[in-house]
Every structure is written in structure tokens, then in C-alpha cells.
Assembly symmetry: C2
Homo-oligomer: 413 residues x 2
């Protein structure tokens, strides 16, 4: 048996015990993990220094270095994130439906842990802690496989939180980090479907594509967000401007930021120039269709632009003749993440939310609210843009399955 | 674009309209489909005759011939199954959670169709009708790819129900059957993730394995049922016998029938011989561990036997020393389908249902109740032995996703 298979087998065995831990034990372990992070700041920073030094030598660019970098504040934030998970309700044991059948059988559907969760991620070491806290609270064992850049940071973090958890009563091997960062370890892990119940790739489209194509373990992924705001002909001008600016500008690097603005033809002369000027005044590069690119400083959009998640202060703007054209454009070019309509018309809003096929659809609000914290789910595993099992922000419940528990008094068919 | 891709693209386009059809239109279409089946008995039987003739020439065996064969009663039963789907509640539009956030945003999670469902199946032509009725009621377009043996029957059925649905207002291309039955068409379909939202393989372990290994489209499968009955030391003898016999004998060919019986060591001298004799009296071949095989007419069980879904009048019997040994055996050899404990001890029952990792766990009842109809879900897509999205009997809800609908009055972050 390969080393990765041994790790997965041990995780499966541990998962039997993790799955039946009481909420009190899990919460106490989470509290110990948070304390252990705060008590080992120097050790964590020393490990991170090794990663940072190696990364600087590789000339990987400032933004990646920033993702990799830990300091005392960031370690505090990790501990804080663990404590936030303590405050969330335990999803295990939640009864989601139940009835007594005519034959007297008492049937309940109950949330249970999935078992073993494998997480692959890239540069950010905080994922080690976030993912572990969510897995533990939902009663799962976790296998962590971080990127090579953050190897020493990830191993230091996982050992510290694993030791703290074990001391608090969590079985050994519930939290394991894979120490090899070659591609083979990922490929092995995603095909160990006899031991691993869920695979979560956290990373760019290439990672997700490789996992979807090769995994035999079921996968939950958080894909790209090519989000749209559509301004209908009767929109309130001030509201439209505020939402468009918020959706594009407030934090352009995140998946729920807007990437394309659609504006109805009837307000082409009035609202469109105002929205474009306002975006430009906020530092946004605007590209547009034939109509929009007649405005000053607007370059023509390429076909590729309509598909692109810019993750930057850039937006593609298109004029549409009808609500139908807007819906068709979104369903064609979008990534099923988050889309908003700005309108005062009852039927247009209703049709938009029913016919746009995305995880979150908005009337008169910014797409930026698609977030576990904002929607009251608490910490999230990611925002799912797939349709099976979990769609939109994935909270603790997305790390659970369900089981039928059926109690009888001798019933047979 | 390949022919299969064209079919999938047309299905995706049709799914936009199917997804927003009213329940009344869908139910009227289902009623027309049922009538069309009854009105075209001769046409269906003629097509089935061609399949039966070709199948007989291939010498495929009586049991497969029986699965393939249609007669007037079976066509009536298909129409009846369609009418049963009419009586089930429409899952689309169900609000599964909702709240008003402090910022005034009104948030709802609403069930929506998945979009396009691809179903692969083997000899039984009734799957063409059952799967289509469930897909339509849940607002999905469907692509059917049946086995080569049933090709003419499947095409006749799919054309008849598709024409009836279109006449009743369902958009064309909502119900399509693939007319080629080579392996390439299956492989192409399971990788068209840009058009197909869910893939359902209905067939043997080899088909499911091939799909799990090669599909990029998310998959829901109904796996094997290696179900266990565990008789604890304090079980009521009469109840134990009745449940064991029912679970094994009432319909041995189905996935929720028992395949292994575990009996506590303390009743080895008393209850065990009675259970084995009763099974044998019902025509069941008993194999067993060292203790059990000392009884008359019991052959020693092989290691393979503990893994086997016999689907026949055969059972493997083992004596265990403790509840823990029973739970460990089931979690090791089982297929996560259905398992029962017979006991009067509160804590043993509680531990069994919590620690056995199966879709359905029973106290003092037969495993045979794991069934959509028995559990009040109505018609089912199959019984899922995986943990993501749907576990246990998969009803109409398993063919839906969810969407966040968020209504505001200008909210921005």
C-alpha cells in the first residue's frame, strides 16, 4: 500500500470516532487549537520564514508572496477564525425530516459527517487552519495537501493544531498533512474512493479541471465568478450607480465582484454615460460593445472579454434591447455564480431571478453579498458554482451527508 | 460538433424553458404521455418484438429476456408509473430556507431544476418512461441512452412520450434518445459538462465504475446493497426470525435484501440454530464462519462471501462476540446501503444506528423498507449508496439543485 493510501486508511479509521464525538469535545478541541496557534507564534513564523526565503529566491511576484506571508496579526486572525467555528451550530445530528409511517415505523433523516475530506490548496497557509476547523466541527477527518511554496508553514500549522486536538480528545490521524508536494500525491489521493468521501480543490481553474477530470472521489469545487449586473430600463439611476460601483470596485479581486454590466437600450443616452463615467472615475478600465465604445476612453470588448473574470478594476459593458437578451447573455457567458437586476418592475425582477441559472440571483442589491458570512452561514468552505450537493456559499452543512434512521417493533414486508 | 454534443446542446437550450414550466403544464404533459403509451400499445409491441427476436438469436438467457419483454400489462404499468408521478408534489419552487438579514435583504433558498440529466441504462425499457417522467416533473431536460438490446423498444417509447409531451406544451428536445448504442456515445455524453448537469448510470457495478472513472459530469449512482442483519444477545427470538426471513427471502433479487446475518455469541446455542434451520427451510443456502459451519448443511464461508451481494437465496452467517465486532464487520464489508439490529437494549440500538455508516439503519425492522415507495417519497430514481447530494432512496428532490434568491432595496457592501 502506498504512503498516501496508508494516510487515507488511517483517516478513515479515525473518522469512525471523530464522527461520533460530542459537540462539547469538538468545541473544546477547537478552543485548544486556537490557543495552540497563539502559543506557537514563533515556531509558525520560523517555518514561514523558510517558505518566504525559498519563495523570494524563486521570484514569484509580490501578490503570491503576500498570500504566503504570515505575521502575528495573521496568526491571530487564524485563531479567531477557529473560534468563529466554535460559535456555529454543530450540523451533525440535525434532523432534516421525519415521520411515522402507517405501519408504525418511525423514520428520521439525520445529518451525519461525510467521513474523510481531502483538501488540495495552493499558497495560503490559513486554509490549513480554516479547512481543519470546519472539518472537525462537522465530524470529519481531514487530509491536507497544500502547495509546495507553503510546505513548511502548512506542516507547522497542521502539527500544532493536530497535537492540540489530540490532547483535547480527538483521535490521532483525524488531522493529517501530506508532506510530499509532487503531483503524484494529489493524483493518488483523488482516486482513493474507498477511503476518501469528498475532495475539495481550492485553487485556480487548472487545478479544478485536473481534479474534475481525474478524481473518482466525489468533488465539491468553488469555480470562477463571472458575475453580471443588469440595469433594466426603469431602474432608479442613483441605486443603479451605487450597486454597479459597489459590485465592481469595493473588492475587485473576489469571485462575487461584477465583471460585466448590461444596460437596457432605453437608457443608453441617459444612464449609460453616467455609469461609465462613474466607473472610470473610480479607476475602472471600461471595455464595451459597439454602442458603449463610442463613449470616451472605452475600448471595444473582445468576444473573450464577455467570458472573462477580470478580478481587477476592469469591466465589460454591453447594451441589450430586452430583458430576454440580458438573461440569454448571462446564461451563455456566465459561470453560474451571482447576478443582479436593477429594476422597479415586478415581472422583470421575477423573470430574472427565475430564468437566470446562477447560484445567487439578486433584485436591487449588489452581487457582493454572495458570501457565507453575509448570508448568515458563518465560515464557508468556498462558494460552489456547481449544482450538486451544495450551491452558493458552502457552510458546515455542505460537509455532511444524511442517513435514514428507522425504528420499528418488528416490522417486515 | 459531434452528434452527441448537438443533442446535449439542444437539451440545454430546451432546459431553460422546461425549468420554468408550471406544474399544471408538466402534469398535463405527463397525463398525455400516459395516454399515448396506452394508445400505442401495438406500435410499442412491434418494436419490442424486433428487440426480442434479435435477443433470442443472441441466446442471452431467460432472465435478461424477461427484463426486455413488454406486453400489454407492462405497458399499462408504465402508464401507471407516469400517473403516479403526477400525484407527487412538484419539487421546483420549494423554499427550503429563508430569512430577512439585518441589512434588510430578503434571502430565500429555492429548489430549481438541475438542467439536463443524462441517463444510461441497460435492458429494461420501462426505465425510458420512468426516468423521463421524473425528469420532466422536476423541470429537467433528459437525454436517454439505453442498451443495444432494447434499442427499438426504447426509441419507440421515447418518440411516443416525447411527441405527447411536445403536443402538451413541453419544448422540443426536452426528451431525446440517443440512437447509437456504441460505447463512444456514452463516453462522449459523460464528458459534456458544459451541457449536461447530472449523469445517472443505472446498471451493474462495471457500468458504474466506468462512469465514475471517466465522467466529468457530476454523477449520482445506485450501487450494490450488501445488507446486514445483526441479532444482538437480547433479541426477541420470534422477532429476529421473522425479520431475518423477511429480509432474506421475501425478494432476494433486490438491493435491500439481506446478504449477511451476524448473530451474538451468547445466543449461539439457542437462537442461531433456529435461524439457520428456518432459513434453510425457506430454501436459503447458508454459508458460515467456523462456528456456524458446524451446523448441518452449512458450508464454510469464504472471505469473498462477506463482500458479496448474492441477490439470490443464499446468505453468509457469522457469530460475533460483541456489538463492536458487528459494527466493525458491517463498516468493513458493507456497501453503505441498509443494515438492521434486532435488540431490546436501548444503548446498543442507539450505538448501532449512530456508528454504522449506511444510507439506512434500522432497529427492529427489516432492511427491505429502504425504498422510495415504502418511505413515502413516491417513485424513485434509484437508491444512492454514495454520500454526496442524495443518500438512500432518490426521489424527485434529488433531481433538483437550489438557488439563492435575494431581494433588496439598493443594498451594497
Amino acid at each position: 500500500m502506498s504512503e498516501i493510501a496508508e494516510i487515507a486508511k488511517r483517516a478513515k479509521e479515525a473518522s469512525r470516532t471523530v464522527g461520533v464525538l460530542s459537540t462539547a469535545v469538538k468545541d473544546a478541541a477547537l478552543a485548544s487549537m486556537a490557543e495552540a496557534l497563539e502559543g506557537n507564534v514563533e515556531k509558525i513564523l520560523a517555518a514561514n520564514d523558510r517558505d518566504m526565503e525559498a519563495a523570494r529566491a524563486k521570484d514569484i511576484g509580490e501578490s503570491l508572496l503576500d498570500r504566503l506571508m504570515l505575521d502575528e496579526a495573521r496568526i491571530q486572525a487564524m485563531a479567531g477564525a477557529v473560534r468563529e467555528v466554535i460559535s456555529l451550530p454543530d450540523p451533525v445530528g440535525e434532523v432534516t425530516s421525519g415521520q411515522r409511517l402507517p405501519n408504525g415505523l418511525e423514520v428520521r433523516q439525520v445529518r451525519v459527517p461525510l467521513g474523510v475530506i481531502g483538501v488540495i490548496y495552493e499558497a495560503r497557509p490559513n486554509v490549513t487552519v480554516d479547512a481543519t476547523a470546519l472539518a472537525l466541527k462537522s465530524g470529519n477527518a481531514i487530509i491536507l495537501r497544500g502547495g509546495s511554496l507553503a510546505l513548511h508553514s502548512n506542516l507547522a500549522l497542521s502539527h500544532i493544531i493536530s497535537d492540540a486536538a489530540i490532547e483535547a480528545g480527538v483521535p490521532p490521524h483525524s488531522i493529517q498533512a501530506i508532506e510530499t508536494t509532487d503531483r503524484a500525491s494529489v493524483n493518488a489521493l483523488m482516486q482513493l474512493d474507498q477511503y476518501v468521501d469528498l475532495f475539495v480543490p481550492r485553487g485556480g481553474p487548472d487545478l479544478i479541471k485536473a481534479v474534475v477530470e481525474n478524481a473518482t472521489v466525489p468533488v465539491l469545487w468553488a469555480g470562477a465568478g463571472n458575475c453580471h449586473v443588469y440595469v433594466h430600463d426603469d431602474a432608479d439611476f442613483d441605486m443603479a450607480e451605487e450597486i454597479v460601483i459597489n459590485a465592481k470596485v469595493q473588492r475587485p479581486s473576489v469571485c462575487n465582484a461584477a465583471e460585466t454590466l448590461l444596460v437596457h437600450r432605453d437608457v443608453e443616452q441617459t444612464l449609460l454615460p453616467r455609469l461609465v463615467s462613474s466607473l472610470q472615475a473610480h479607476g475602472v478600465t471600461v471595455v464595451g460593445d459597439e454602442t458603449v465604445s463610442r463613449l470616451s476612453d472605452v475600448a471595444p470588448a473582445t468576444e473573450e472579454d464577455w467570458y472573462t473574470e477580470f478580478l481587477d478594476l476592469k469591466i465589460a459593458v454591453k447594451v441589450v434591447d430586452t430583458l430576454d437578451e440580458a438573461i440569454t447573455h448571462i446564461n451563455h457567458y456566465g459561470t453560474l455564480h451571482s447576478e443582479a437586476i436593477i429594476t422597479n418592475d415586478y415581472n422583470s425582477g421575477r423573470r430574472f431571478v427565475n430564468e437566470v441559472d446562477s447560484a445567487a440571483v439578486y433584485i436591487n442589491a449588489s452581487t457582493r453579498f454572495t458570501d457565507g458570512g453575509e448570508l448568515g452561514l458563518g465560515a464557508e468552505v468556498g462558494i460552489s458554482t456547481q449544482k450538486l450537493h451544495a450551491r452558493g456559499p458552502m457552510g458546515l452543512r455542505s460537509l455532511t451527508s444524511q442517513k435514514y434512521i428507522i425504528q420499528g417493533s418488528g416490522q417486515a414486508r
